[in-house]
């Protein structure tokens, strides 16, 4: 039986809303008509819309129901894998994506999804191997490049991550992930001006996201946080070592007064570092929406 034209229109509207990143409107469009449940497109649109709304459990349920009708459908298996991965149910996610790869073992998107699942599970060597295979199949794939970038950053290979982010930006100068990653790397190094610019470009793409990052930028940019710069930049270990070495050095050099002053300054700084950031953070939270 063919879908009536009104049903086709509703599905087209839902599909369009999904394309333009309005998943709730997509669901509303689907709900407005009692659509043909034998049309896999209806399930696919609903599932991906639920995922975009962060309703991961509902998305997984939708995928499972669809798989009950169309077992071994690669698209629904991938949807299930992504939904379960977002819920951090990695065993289930792995199961789903491996089932999809059993059907299409060389599909780069599926391999990339598997690499993402492995990365979430901190199986970084395995994730790298899967990405290598994906790269063999699709050497120019930006999906693979994105996962490599995530993997490099997760592994702590910051220089490699930076290079990959720049490579991503060569494909598209406004690439969201590229700017976010470079912003995060600049933030780690406390290059606030550069971080602000990068995060600004990313925010222009998707201002509803990165709330945590922008809040961190506000925190670090607050004048009351300036004395914290050494700890933020180098970490507490080196700063403690430098402070203790300075204090002992002054003592060894016979500069008793200077040593005493250094001890006081260091104690004040310790108290400051333990109290002021929390107060600033609390104030920023009060000013937030």
């Amino acid at each position: 039986m063919s879908t009536s034209s009104a049903d086709a229109g509703a599905l087209e509207l839902a599909r369009h809303y999904l394309l333009v990143d309005q998943p709730q409107s997509a669901l509303d469009a689907l709900a407005a008509r009692q659509l043909d449940l034998d049309d896999p497109e209806v399930w696919a649109v609903r599932g991906w819309a639920l995922l975009d709304l962060d309703r991961h459990e509902d998305a997984a349920d939708t995928a499972r129901e669809a798989l009950g009708r169309w077992p071994d459908d690669v698209d629904f298996l991938r949807l299930l894998a992504v939904a379960e991965a977002q819920r951090d149910r990695l065993a289930e996610a792995e199961d789903a994506i491996l089932a999809a790869l059993a059907v299409e073992p060389d599909e780069p998107d599926l391999l990339a999804t598997y690499a993402d699942v492995l990365t979430r599970g901190v199986q970084l060597d395995e994730a790298g191997a899967v990405l290598d295979r994906a790269a063999e199949v699709a050497p120019d794939s930006t999906v693979v490049l994105r996962l490599r970038l995530n993997l490099a950053y997760a592994s702590g290979h910051d220089d490699e991550a930076r290079a990959l982010a720049h490579e991503l930006l060569q494909h598209d100068a406004d690439d969201y992930q590229g700017h976010v990653m470079l912003g995060a790397l600049d933030l780690d190094k406390l290059k606030l001006g550069d971080a602000r610019e990068r995060i600004g470009t990313a925010v222009r793409q998707d201002p509803a996201s990165l709330r945590g990052t922008t809040q961190q930028l506000r925190l670090l940019g607050n004048p009351l946080m300036w004395p914290m710069w050494p700890i933020q930049r180098f970490g507490p270990g080196p700063v403690w070592v430098a402070a203790v070495a300075t204090i002992f050095g002054l003592g060894a050099a016979g500069l008793g007064t200077a040593q005493a002053v250094a001890v006081v300054v260091w104690l004040v700084f310790c108290v400051y570092s333990w109290t002021v950031p929390a107060l600033v953070e609390r104030r920023l939270e009060r000013e937030d929406w």
Partner: protein, 160 residues
């Protein structure tokens, strides 16, 4: 589900349990940078204890715990031996602290991926990524490790 015979496509995450980001079910991890206090004040043993707990909370893979243990034990033995050989008693604390700091660098490096992944894949919510304060635990672990280090120091002294 059918599986290929491909070694790359065999399950590795069968034991994974979903993370609790809010800290309501599981104890949240400590910030990896904060382990330095235990390392400096309590030496490699304190760092070993704190880092192993943190690795568990961060769901770091088994290899991470093994690396941490290897580094910390090596630095512990080295610190006690060096302190002994140099005849340092009061200054032994300095040697312990220095070896603790030496161990801290690779230990932090080992924990970094698990920590970053936990933050990267946390739900997109301002309050999603929770860390626990390490202060009280550090004090306790430092005292414990200092006691053990003294004991170890005595045993090594007998042996040497």
């Amino acid at each position: 589900m059918p599986r290929t015979g491909d070694a790359l496509l065999t399950p590795t995450l069968t034991d994974h349990r979903p993370r609790d980001y809010t800290g309501s079910i599981e104890r949240p991890p400590w910030r990896t940078g904060s382990l330095v206090y235990g390392a400096i004040l309590g030496g490699p043993l304190a760092l070993l204890i704190l880092a192993l707990f943190d690795a568990g909370r961060l769901r770091a893979p088994a290899g991470t715990a093994q690396r941490i243990a290897a580094v910390c034990v090596a630095c512990l033995v080295a610190s006690v031996t060096v302190a002994r050989l140099l005849g340092l008693d009061a200054g032994g604390r300095l040697v312990v602290g220095l070896f603790g700091l030496l161990a801290f660098v690779p230990v932090r490096r080992s924990l970094l991926p698990a920590d970053r992944i936990r933050a990267m894949y946390a739900p997109d919510d301002d309050e999603a990524v929770v860390y626990e304060s390490i202060f009280a635990v550090t004090v306790g672990v430092v005292f414990f490790s200092l006691l053990v280090t003294v004991l170890l120091d005595a045993i090594v002294g007998e042996v040497l």
